[in-house]
Symmetry: C2
Subunit: 326 residues, 2 copies
């Protein structure tokens, strides 16, 4: 972390998640219905930098839990390659993310499409007044998520959490809502100690490069872990889909390298082959969550939040966020 | 480049493109019709490593020039997250790439889906006999594209070229076919000198890291440039959508860094802002193709294949491939 603001922002994020949970679940608001009840063939999520990673995560969540079809794009790609992504015969819901609401390309996206009959627009932001809200048809302002740091931490997780709660509420999935609520309780009890644990581990090692690996919903989170490291520590950092790591990128493994595995889904097979390959290269491994069965624990593998135990793997993935932010 | 095989494979790739062009355009074959005439709602392109980059490029090309809907996925992601990507009510055409035809995850993808009524499968490979062909419903073997090197160079471009020719032929776009033919003539005359030019430039500078930037069809090519550098030179290398570079990654710019811009589309605006930012950080820039209007030429910007002049920007993008491979 780069400064005290960031420390405070990472620590307080679960408070912001809970605040947004209450607002979105609250009987009086109809945000979820407003967002999803329109007629559309596809949702396109968009944003820049961290907000693009947010868009990718939202898209994976949507495609997994609902019947909606969605894709995620960097704002600039949607802006400059619209003939590739917009089929004039179809209806679209464009959902954009911008912490400040002043990101140039994201505002330009809305301005380009807002008067087209078949396109609806929705903006997620963390400030009450901004240009993104002004141009969008509908919007949601995340509570308690504004930040003073340059790097987005709390704002990233709060916007993602809020979107996931909206969709879960719209689908009326009470079990998943309960899991999200349990997630907040779990992380609130864990974050204070986690800071010390992660810091101690990083200080005890002198890593010269990082890899972040994740599959499915965890892939965009791995890309975000990568981007946060680039912004904060300025040492080489890479992110890949877990199994893509073996098809080329592993060439960069070395002794002082840390490979971070985000929570590993039970669906995955043969992750141990990749783990063995990394150990063979004398790199170190950190795993968030309980990891995989029969993994030989040793000096080269370190676990964080190993006791996390959620029914729903998408919800469990949120435990990755505070770990990589620290 | 790592060895003489790779040199020979890069040099001879245009010969392989022409061979495949003739086969696919030839009156007697009906490959294009076989591939596209089936009833499907979406094409899913898949592959591992370089072949995944190939899948992303094929998907962008398809979405841009045809009315087909497509996405690209790493084989492992399609395999382990199929409930996210396969909607049981829809028809799919799965198009996979594997040079050897023995890539484990890609074969597993076909095995998982081949008996499902609503799913068709098609394999691209560079060898006559292999497991991928055995399990797939239909296939195309790229002529003259097999390789001895570990790194895929000629096989990457030949499979991509072949796919693009198939779709262009199916759509009966004679202008684009003519451009593809002109591309071969242009590159055949340029590649011999290009080797010396690129090598001289790299040797004269002592770069300690590389960025490859591209938008649209050029983004997956930038990712491939990145992967080739990782496999061959083992120094830090990153790839981004052009405008995403400004949202975080630029933090890693330094004096001995080279930023490679793949051919820049006329549709893009404000690329000069990014160029200025890079120059301000005293990094160097290499641009493939004619670049952008009013760009101040100076010691920090080097052009390659500046005289390339194609009507069709998708076709022009192929000139990037031999430059970054060298």
């Amino acid at each position: 972390m780069d400064n005290n603001y960031t420390y405070e922002e990472i620590s307080s994020q679960v408070k912001s998640w809970k605040e947004n949970f209450d607002v979105i679940i609250g009987e009086k608001t109809k945000i979820s219905t407003d967002l999803f009840s329109k007629d559309f063939d596809r949702i396109i999520f968009f944003g820049c930098g961290t907000s693009y990673n947010l868009a990718m995560a939202s898209s994976f969540f949507t495609n997994t839990v609902s019947g909606f079809d969605s894709i995620a794009l960097p704002s600039s790609e949607l802006l400059f390659n619209s003939e590739t992504y917009i089929d004039k015969g179809k209806n679209y819901l464009l959902v954009g993310y911008s912490r400040s609401g002043e990101t140039t390309e994201s505002i330009e996206v809305i301005n380009k499409f807002k008067n087209q009959e078949k396109i609806r627009t929705f903006a997620f932001t963390c400030r009450e007044k901004n240009s993104f809200i002004d141009v969008s048809e509908n919007h949601y302002v995340c509570r308690g998520a504004e930040e003073k740091s340059i790097a987005m931490t709390r704002s990233f997780s709060s916007m993602l959490f809020s979107y996931c709660i909206m969709l879960t509420r719209y689908l009326d999935n009470k079990d998943r809502l309960k899991e999200f609520s349990g997630l907040c309780t779990y992380l609130e009890s864990k974050i204070p100690l986690l800071f010390g644990e992660v810091k101690e581990y990083i200080d005890a090692n002198d890593f010269n490069s990082y890899f972040a690996l994740g599959s499915g919903f965890n892939y965009p989170l791995a890309v975000e872990a990568d981007l946060k490291m680039k912004e904060m520590s300025r040492i080489p950092e890479y992110s890949y889909h877990i199994f893509e790591f073996n098809h080329g990128p592993k060439a960069l493994l070395s002794e002082d390298c840390l490979v971070l595995f985000l929570t590993i889904s039970k669906k995955l097979r043969n992750v141990d082959i990749i783990v063995d390959e990394i150990i063979k290269n004398r790199s170190k491994i950190a795993i968030i969550g309980k990891g995989i069965k029969d993994l030989k624990k040793g000096g080269n593998i370190r676990f964080f939040l190993e006791d996390a135990s959620f029914e729903d793997e998408l919800v469990e993935s949120f435990i990755n966020i505070p770990v990589f932010q620290i």
